[in-house]
């Protein structure tokens, strides 16, 4: 029975992840269009039924599946094929550590709405996101093309600049929440500051959030920091890929957006916590209570988590369609000279505040 529950949880999490990824491509098209006073992709239809282009991701998928699966003659075939799967796998596996909601009590069982309740879940996600770079370096190298190799090296250099800041920005957070288990971090954010303000991570660690968000944006390798791929002009690591393998790289990008949104939500915006809602309903700070049955509460939590994640996806797409790309040296400057000192200041400041408040 436990095995069955685990299986169902895995299936649900993966389906949620992949469907959100598919529709993130749709959101990207539509949002960029609305920002630029256009309408966006609305022609894909089934028997003339368009519904604002919602079938577009499926049309894309069909197109990519029927394209030629091309491997250049000079490339290392095994590694060339392995690279997209590696980068896809390492992102897809991170969803297992994301807490979607609190415990669901059904038939005397208490099901944790999280695939894997690791006690170092945060480290697991960060480690898997960093391992994703292997796919990029490998694809750049296995294509045996100078330009893709340069793209892979750029990716590696960018990763080194940002991974340090990403890790350091979260240390302040770990100092405040005395746990690395994501479910506990979320539970901790359910309390209130001064009895009315939800105790979300962003209020405790504003500087940490800013550094984290910048570094995480660089981690997704999208436009302000898209040096490894450079989809508009410079040639990136997946130049020699086409069809579904290229699609896997593209999906990896979108999945990274979702994972970054999940992380930002979980760590800094209360995860599945709804403001002022406990396990039995709302307890408003002005004294009122609104008691709800357990099922409704869980639904509320799932809904809140999804809304927050989609908001962050929206924000990242907005950023992608607002800014031009950073120049290479500017990017390095930002990483080493701005974000890392800021995150160190954050750690010291957090330490001092904890010392004073104790």
């Amino acid at each position: 029975m436990d095995l069955l529950i685990a299986f169902i949880k895995i299936v649900f999490a993966l389906v949620w992840f992949l469907v959100l990824t598919l529709y993130l491509t749709w959101l990207e098209r539509k949002e960029s269009a609305v920002i630029q006073d256009r309408i966006g992709a609305n022609r894909a239809n089934i028997f003339g039924l368009r519904i604002i282009g919602l079938f577009q991701p499926f049309a894309d998928a069909i197109k990519m599946i029927f394209k030629e699966d091309f491997v250049p003659a000079f490339a290392n075939k095994f590694l060339h094929t392995l690279a997209p799967f590696l980068s896809f796998f390492f992102v897809a596996i991170t969803v297992s550590a994301i807490p979607f909601g609190d415990k669901l009590d059904i038939g005397g069982r208490s099901i944790n709405l999280q695939v894997l309740d690791l006690n170092a879940g945060l480290l697991f996600i960060l480690a898997m996101l960093s391992l994703g770079i292997y796919g990029i370096i490998l694809s750049g190298w296995a294509s045996r093309n100078r330009f893709t190799l340069l793209g892979g090296v750029r990716g590696a250099a960018q990763l080194i600049s940002y991974e340090v800041a990403l890790g350091l920005s979260l240390i302040g957070l770990i100092m405040v929440y005395p746990s690395l288990r994501l479910q506990e971090i979320v539970g901790f954010q359910g309390e209130n500051l001064f009895n009315w303000l939800p105790k979300w991570g962003v209020l405790l660690q504003p500087l940490g959030f800013i550094v984290f968000f910048f570094a995480a944006l660089a981690e997704t390798k999208r436009v302000p920091f898209d040096l490894p791929e450079g989809e508009s002009e410079i040639i990136g690591f997946f130049t020699e890929y086409g069809g579904l393998k290229w699609g896997l790289f593209m999906m990896t990008d979108f999945m990274e957006i979702i994972i970054i949104s999940c992380l930002a939500t979980t760590l800094f915006f209360g995860g599945w916590q709804v403001p002022w809602m406990g396990s039995d309903g709302f307890h408003f700070p002005w004294g009122g209570t609104w008691l709800l049955p357990h099922g409704i509460v869980v639904l509320f939590q799932l809904f809140a988590f999804n809304v927050k994640v989609i908001f962050f996806c929206w924000l990242q797409i907005l950023i992608r369609w607002t800014y031009p790309r950073y120049r290479y040296d500017q990017l390095m400057d930002l990483g080493w000279k701005v974000l890392i000192p800021l995150s160190l200041i954050n750690i010291v400041g957090t330490g001092i505040m904890i010392g004073i408040l104790k």
């Binding site: 609305v34 630029q36 256009r38 907005l318 800014y323």
Partner: protein, 157 residues
Amino acid sequence: MIDALGYFIETIKGAFITARHFIVNMVYHVLKVLGIKTKRKGAVTIQYPEQRKEIARRHRSLHRLMKREDGKPRCVSCMLCVTVCPSECIHVEASEDPDPEIQKVPAKFTIDLSRCCFCGFCVEACPEDAIRMDTSKVEFAEYARPDMIYDLTKLLG
């Protein structure tokens, strides 16, 4: 450092500009879905095949040859359009006309639209006002190149 802060503020402002575009346009889109008519639209684009922009009167579109009252082409095969055409896409072969006032009519008059650059020189050169570019037709894509060569009957319409 002060400079860097200034740049940072400007980039944040940029994000607010795109966010404003998004929100304002979304409001108009939602109003349209709800069936409320507004003066402004959410998008400035024209949904082309269904919705077309009116073509200006002076727009140089597909050529046509003009006819006399009796239905014969006005063209007198003077070859001025052939001479002036920079793309060399007009081909005319003359033949004799029994009417001594006209003397010549085109036996063949073909325009290779795959070469035509729509400069309108042929229209300006024509002394008989026999060729015009005012049909307002702008869609004449074909699957094969030979279909792009328009002959006399096609041009006379």
